[in-house]
């Protein structure tokens, strides 16, 4: 084959080979792109649960999410003012970039009794990316869910938003920002939501142990190291372990205990557990019921291997643990 034609053919083959390599890659990349904005209501399909299909699409049956709220005329029982700030936190002697609510991380604990109306005024003082508050695991009206981009716009600096919902579930819950949450929640923009039964809990000692790692440094209730809680011999203690991190942790007391509630739901007649730990998933909560030993010794409740709640006075060694193996 003459030189120039051979060279031309070689070039054509090279171009075809290049297209064969790059075209599938280009197609895969294009197929992976998502639209800039899309409507939640436009996804999926209508599920009529097996009944006759009822046409919901036409007519005046659309409602704005903003209309899904508690009766504005009802007066609130628990009113809380929260101011969100972006600042440097000092945790265990280290400086960590973070966020605060009313100056602290975790933010204030919101406590209500069953049936009360909770009203939270959120103001954003300095969080650059905007902020919302989401009530993790709690059933609230749609407009109060705090999901930026879905139920509301994020609250910009200088802006405000009022959340109102009825506390009709008893249990250990928490609230956190749902705007750029992968940064803000890790940075400490969260707090505890406690809903007690109308007559309160039966345990005389009620402890909240919020586990959070700031830059990898493990803390309980925002403080590095162990948490000491006074408790008398024979007293019944409820330890509410809340995992606010992005990965699971184990919790186990050094002695028998009962798992009173998991993720905000009470267990029915829980039995005594020994030598096993409870896996608290990311965002999960475990209420542990412990009876203090009558001989006055302290009880150590490990919240992951790094931190512990020490009930009572005196020192006590870290208990060994064995994980519960779930057989699926």
């Amino acid at each position: 084959m003459p030189g120039p034609i051979r060279g031309r053919l070689r070039l054509v083959i090279a171009v075809v080979a290049t297209l064969a390599v790059l075209a599938p890659l280009a197609w895969l990349w294009l197929a992976s792109l998502v639209p800039r904005a899309y409507s939640v209501t436009g996804m999926g399909y209508h599920d009529y649960g097996g009944g006759p299909a009822v046409d919901h699409d036409h007519g005046s049956t659309t409602r704005s999410v903003a209309d899904l709220k508690v009766d504005p005329a009802r007066k609130a029982d628990v009113v809380v003012d929260l101011v969100a700030e972006q600042k440097t936190l000092s945790v265990g002697g280290k400086s960590v970039a973070g966020y605060t609510l009313n100056g602290t991380s975790p933010g204030p604990t919101i406590t209500a009794h069953l049936g009360q109306l909770v009203e939270v005024h959120l103001r954003n003082a300095s969080v650059k990316a905007g902020v919302t508050l989401h009530w993790h695991g709690y059933d609230v009206p749609g407009a109060m869910d705090g999901v930026a981009g879905v139920t509301q716009d994020e609250v910009p600096i200088g802006g405000e938003f009022t959340y109102r919902f009825v506390a009709d579930q008893v249990g250990t819950y928490w609230y956190h920002s749902h705007q750029v949450s992968n940064v803000q929640v890790i940075g400490g923009l969260f707090g505890v939501l406690l809903v007690l039964p109308k007559t309160g809990v039966s345990e005389p000692v009620d402890v909240t142990a919020t586990a959070h790692a700031y830059g990898g440094m493990k803390t309980i209730n925002g403080v590095a190291g162990d948490l000491r809680v006074p408790a008398k011999p024979g007293q019944r203690v409820r330890v509410r372990v809340i995992n606010t991190d992005n990965g699971p942790i184990e919790t186990w007391p050094g002695g028998p205990y009962r798992l009173l509630a998991i993720d905000g739901y009470d267990l029915n007649a829980p039995t005594e557990v020994t030598d096993h730990s409870v896996t608290v998933t990311a965002g999960g909560r475990a209420d542990l019921g412990i009876t203090m030993p009558s001989d006055g010794t302290a009880v150590r409740v490990q919240v992951s291997k790094g931190t512990a709640v020490i009930l009572g006075t005196g020192d006590v060694a870290a208990p060994r643990s064995r994980r519960i193996r779930w057989i699926c």
Partner: protein, 148 residues
């Protein structure tokens, strides 16, 4: 084209070196963190414990090596390098295998040992491809036999 080919092949080797450095830093950052008395568990890893960023970088940068290896292959089509396409394919396959080993290491750490050793192999293959591209392409003209 020959120069671009050599640069890309050397780039694959250089990126393997950077990958090794990232893992070295990540491993020691974590060991030192634990040595200072801190706890490293799933929650701590997800919250930015020292070393986490280096490990994440290692995952993404591996994809970058793959892109450079693909670019090397495309350039090899247009370069008149003796066995240039062949060696570009070898480097690309080795890169792919190395990434696959990295993914599989999540299941069994023993595969991680192979992943570590294979990095040396990939470095060698990429450098060999670059060095072999130094020789000038064989000229195709024939010299006239009669020289009067």
């Amino acid at each position: 084209m020959r120069k671009v080919y050599r640069v890309l092949a050397h780039a694959v080797a250089a990126m393997v070196v950077i990958q090794a450095g990232a893992i070295g830093y990540g491993a020691w950052a974590q060991l030192n963190w634990i040595g200072e008395g801190n706890t490293l568990d799933n929650a701590a890893l997800e919250s930015g414990a020292p070393g986490s960023a280096a490990l994440i970088f290692h995952s993404f940068f591996g994809g970058g090596v793959l892109l450079v290896a693909i670019a090397l292959l495309v350039i090899s089509f247009f370069s008149k390098i003796d066995r240039g396409v062949r060696w570009a394919v070898i480097v690309l396959v080795a890169t792919f295998v190395q990434i696959a080993l990295g993914v599989l290491s999540h299941f069994t750490a023993v595969i991680g040992a192979v992943h570590g050793a294979a990095a040396m192999v990939l470095f060698g293959l990429a450098t060999t491809a670059a060095m072999r591209a130094r020789r000038p392409a064989a000229r195709e003209e024939t010299v006239p036999a009669n020289v009067a």
